[in-house]
Amino acid sequence: MTKYILKRLFYLVLTLLIIASITFFMMKGLPGTPYTNQNKMSPTQLAALNQKYGFNKPLFEQYLMYMNNLVHGDLGTSFQFNNEPVTQLIGDHIGPSMQLGLQAMILGSLLGIVFGSIAAIKKNTWIDSLTTIVSILGLSIPSFVLAVLLQYYLGYKLHWFPVALWHGFSSSILPTLALAAFPLASIARYMRTEMVDVLNSDYIELAKAKGDASWQVIVKHALRNSLIPIITVVGPMAVTIMTGSMVVESIFSIPGIGDQFVQSILTNDYPTIMGLTLFYSFLMVVVILIVDILYGIIDPRIRLGKGGKA
């Protein structure tokens, strides 16, 4: 297992280097230069930047320089956000985004699994139809619409939660709810389909024949087997939610990372684009690694190492 994880970590680094390279050249292909804003910068700043990044030098040389800095942990300095180092920029703003994403994923997955399972157990009853309708709504209503609705009714009208800004846990509740709708709905759909399949399988019938009560059949046998395909969906969804909450963040005026990403692309803020892309890629690759390890834990058929025949 250790050997497997080491191998995966090596590939992880390799993947990130490849992503960094591709992003670098694609980014350089964007129209415009960071100097669109040069009027606002002092000549000394420009000179310092020119010297540090060598924008006059051939593209390939620039690439080697960037990669060299990257390997030494230097993501550079942002061109627009107060000349902050990119690492610090990410560090300062990632907290709220990650917190919202994680809360939304945990809430969405748990409720999705519960609702999906109940729908499957009560297949073809009104409960099943109800969860189907809720899922379709959750999938089709964009998160920003939901965000505004929640903000207006639960925040402005009822004063249950803060309308906006980022002051403690209570201000994270509304954006979390807005973000959780999508994972909740889609996981509930997957879970229902999967659970219906599993409940029709022979080993569930055998479990009943052993005298397991209905809840024992679900808890001991059906749940774990239904979860196997769900993990695949949950991983990448988690990354998307953690990183893609930009609209919701701006509706609730949350100092997250989403806003910076869009701004950096619009202004050709090369170091920030690179830094954030690498950070997102890093998250994605790590989540995929975690998903693969989780797979092994939940499904013994693909467990690695000793004992596994196939």
């Binding site: 399988s201 022979d202 080993y203 019938e205 055998l206 479990a207 009943k208 024949a209 052993k210 005298g211 397991d212 009560a213 209905s214 024992q216 001991k220 046998h221 774990r224 087997n225 196997i228 939940i298 499904d299 013994p300 058929r301 004992g307 596994g308 025949k309 196939a310």
Partner: protein
Amino acid sequence: MSDKVLEVKDLEVDFSTLNGTVHAIRDVSFDLNKGETLALVGESGSGKSVTVRSVIQLYAKNAKVTNGEITFHGKNLLELSPKEMDKIRGKDISMIFQDPMTSLDPTMTIGKQVAEPLLVHHDTSEKEAMKRAQEVLKLVGIPNAKERMHNYPHQFSGGQRQRIVIAMAIIDNPEILIADEPTTALDVTVQAQIISLLKDLQKKIGTSIIFITHDLGVVAGIADRVAVMYAGKIIEYGTTDEIYYDPKHPYTWGLLDSMPTLGLEGKRLKAIPGTPANLIDPPKGDAFAPRSEYAMKIDERLQPPFFKVTDTHYAATWLLDPKAPKVTPPASIQERYNQYQKLRGENDG
């Protein structure tokens, strides 16, 4: 031998489908004696599986028992609450399924799966249950049971998996073991091993077995008595010898003739012509009559009752009515009878 452990009386089961109500079981009655093996034989759709699934009430949601009694220890199982039924399943009556490749939970070690009935039905500690599971796995012939009980189903072959399923079924010493085509999905050599394992276990724990199969060849090796089913009814029953060597129902003749035997080299196997009866609108008379070359007028109008052949042998065909014309069974069936008489004669002498 005459201690009845299970009595099924006038059982009728309907399935509601989009095409209409299927009368899958039409008035089935049988007894199961202590320690005996009863085989239910018949082609696909004849109602064998539905019959036994009614006993432990594990059937599709659209199934409904419309009539009958299933008596076990003086209680009518059909009147028990789901909770009371849970207590009987896996403890007093347990079941083995057809396909061992899919009947084990792929995400649970086999030790835990085998121990499960004990943990569900008794206050056994997990440690004790696992110890017992190991014993039972050894009993059903899993080598290195101690180590292997921590393995998962995918690490076993089909035959081994069926042994594991059997271990699960017998761990709580059930009074009745229902085996629903337990050998159909296995290859022939493994089939023989599983049959002899079941016979062995039956001797050791004294359980009664209801053995379902469509393969008369398998029945001979294990059953004490045989009941032949057709179109949701039992049409003939008797001891295994009686059914094999002196069958009376034309359907049983057809079944036996469609089975390969040793003397058959070079000849074609006979198939029963036609298709099974439509059970949405079951025939008024003998359901097999349209496929039978021995059918008479009365078969179309009236359901034949059981005619007694011997104390243990009954068959539901109008051919046994005293007023029916004398019909000679096909030559192959007569041959069976003659061979049997010869064998008996040799044994007696």
